[in-house]
Symmetry: C2
Subunit: 411 residues, 2 copies
């Protein structure tokens, strides 16, 4: 029989974050589209201006702005049309005083022009003339060369996870290939004599493997690669062998599945005696998720997640997900979250963080209401009904009905 020497969430995160940089992976060069969601492995410094020339942002006429000063509907300024800039081509002409050139949105401004009068603020006259009905300021309706990105500017920093708009700026700068970090490889191993594969019909006392699939989904949602290593019964040599195999192919291994004291003891024995650093912590003051443990084995990290499906998910969200996604933790109070009104009172023990599943609903006033979904941490169905978690901090003994809470939505 083992007793937990629990650490706080902050303590557990501190030790995990301090060891995380020891995990290594390679960078790879891939095509731009394949880099979506991956982490950039180098700073991107602009080698050119974007745009590379001064462009019109409207359909209209390129002019010298000083020519239009004082123009109005009553006293229009006549300008001579000397041509049109074709889209995608150099503006070959040079604009002199009293002249105008037709230009479309995105078209290049000719030399001499410093602004564009919108089509709507002009009227065409016979004989190649037009009237300007409204003055423009210098640079009005114009995107200057380098206004989007300046040559020499760092547009994206190494480590950022590439979003659609980041692909866009890379494309603007001509990066059709990009150097990214390989996704983390995460091995998932279920343990416990009572666990049977999803294809099997459970006998008396047996249940199907749930955690391998929830964890697969969570790992993939973090942008990492997941590999299932199946179910291992409570046998030290067999578990040891399978873990070695998973460690061979992964930087992170998640052990989960069995909830019994026998499985926990076995995992603990295995991890305590393997590797020079061994166990980082064993037991965290949270509910659910208390029997979480972590170990460092050379440059690999192993998490022993609780067997109860809800506990395993909470533990993953708290400890594994931030590292896989960002390589670090954020202050839980700093995470952007959706605010809602708590539908009913929740109690908690001081000295323990509670994570409560909630469903979002609409209150009578139209505002968001967080409805707690109580239930044992073994009930996966409560996670299916839930939209997210709320957190009751260590120092609080509960939350009153009607209080404002932050809901951390699921991935």
């Amino acid at each position: 029989m083992e007793f937990f020497q629990v650490v706080t969430v902050a303590q557990a995160r501190k030790v995990l974050a301090s060891h995380w940089p020891r995990l290594k992976r390679k960078s790879v060069v891939c095509e731009l589209t394949q880099a979506l969601g991956l982490e950039l492995a180098e700073d991107i410094v602009a080698q050119e201006n974007v745009p590379g020339f001064t462009r019109s942002t409207v359909d209209g006429f390129a002019v010298r702005s000083c020519d239009t000063f004082g123009a109005s509907e009553g006293t229009p300024v006549p300008l001579r049309m000397i041509g049109e800039v074709p889209m995608g081509s150099r503006a070959e002409m040079v604009l002199n005083r009293g002249e105008a050139v037709a230009v479309s949105t995105g078209g290049m401004l000719p030399l001499g022009a410093d602004a564009v009068v919108m089509l709507e603020h002009t009227e065409t006259l016979p004989g190649g003339w037009l009237n300007v009905l409204k003055p423009v300021a210098p640079k009005e309706n114009v995107m200057a060369e380098g206004e989007d990105v300046k040559k020499g500017e760092t547009v994206l920093k190494a480590g950022c996870r590439l979003r659609p708009q980041d692909l866009g700026v890379l494309a603007a700068l001509g990066h059709w290939k990009v150097k990214v970090w390989e996704p983390w490889r995460v091995g998932i191993l279920a343990t416990g004599n009572e666990i049977v594969p999803v294809e099997a019909q459970p006998g008396p006392g047996q249940v199907r493997d749930i955690n391998s699939y929830t964890l697969w989904g969570l790992v993939k949602s973090c942008g990492a690669e997941a590999k299932l290593y199946g179910i291992v019964p409570d046998d030290l040599s067999y578990l040891s062998e399978r873990l070695a195999q998973a460690l061979e192919e992964s930087q992170v291994v998640l052990l989960s599945g069995g909830s019994s004291v026998g499985t926990r003891d076995l995992t603990l024995r295995l991890l305590s005696h393997w590797g020079e650093e061994g166990l980082l912590f064993h037991g965290v003051s949270i509910r659910p998720g208390k029997p979480t443990l972590a170990a460092l084995i050379q440059d690999r990290m192993v998490f022993g997640l609780p067997g109860h499906p809800v506990s395993a998910m909470v533990s993953f969200y708290l400890f594994v997900s931030p590292l896989l996604k960002y390589g670090r933790y954020q202050d839980p109070e700093e995470e952007p979250a959706v605010e809602a009104t708590l539908a009913r009172r929740l109690s908690s023990d001081a000295g323990r963080e509670d994570y409560v599943r909630v469903r979002l609903a609409r209150g009578e006033d139209g505002g968001l209401v967080a409805v707690p979904l109580p239930g044992k941490s073994g009930l996966i169905s409560t996670m299916v009904q839930a939209d997210g978690f709320i957190r009751i901090p260590l120092e609080k003994a509960g939350l009153e009905a009607g209080s404002r809470v932050k809901v951390r939505l699921f991935i």
Copy 2:
């Protein structure tokens, strides 16, 4: 020269939502892990109870709860240990009055037992006896057969997008294969004489294709398949041919890229004369994103997105993304969003919805602040700096500094 007959966002969404059900796709049966993020094509009705037997939720001793009534540290109740339930096996024994059976978390309760006393609330006595130090109520520390999922219950509805926990409940019920809808196939086609491929060095008046890449990222982030059809110059027959090819292979086609009046006219001419329904709308009262158009061509939907990168993204978020993800639109006020305090005043014209890029920062009081990132809609760099949008509704002429705003975070 064309003028916009603009519709409101609500009007545009109404017509799009009414035609969306005409788009067809096949269902496929895939392995559970491959179904993550896809939409379920059938209701899942439980064919069995989960768990299939009554289990302990703690490590301890299965008992008849009535035997423990009145137990305390001062007046412990002695019970006779008659055995132990092995994990993953049937509890073979039958429990009579005055007896207890050791059981681990997740273990099966023997016949006759109706509760479990936690290990911590017992003490072992010599000769196969133990003392119970605290009473348990009937069903205490027990998960009853079917408590998670009851046979006959609908656990997941057709159309839901499978999250990690949904894979978990499917695994619990033995669904190692699952019927899902194929992801939507979305073709992306850039237009405009000024657009050159990302690998090319733009000449004077030319810019690289940004929108193909931002749209690729957005489409993929919606769980759909994206295919790039390259860049088409402003030529009706060439554009027509490429669009036909994209329509052959996709249910949705996004046209984008050129911002010039020539490209817009061309797209409009093409879409107005193709298909019996043709154009659904042309121009929406939003900024940025006004020159958005949509057309129905038989059972395919074509969106003409604005050429400016920011406009194209706003338009995608407003019109395309909800359909790809959910097949319908949500009231923008109902969408869960992060709340923040607006850092400075924003003006807007009544009669138009404005979407303003913002960066999230921390205020002096530690609260979230939304800092507007003004800038022309052609500046992709402002999207890279931004964390999300805020919306200024149709009827408002602006938002005051210090007002509470909802920030819609990017995918």
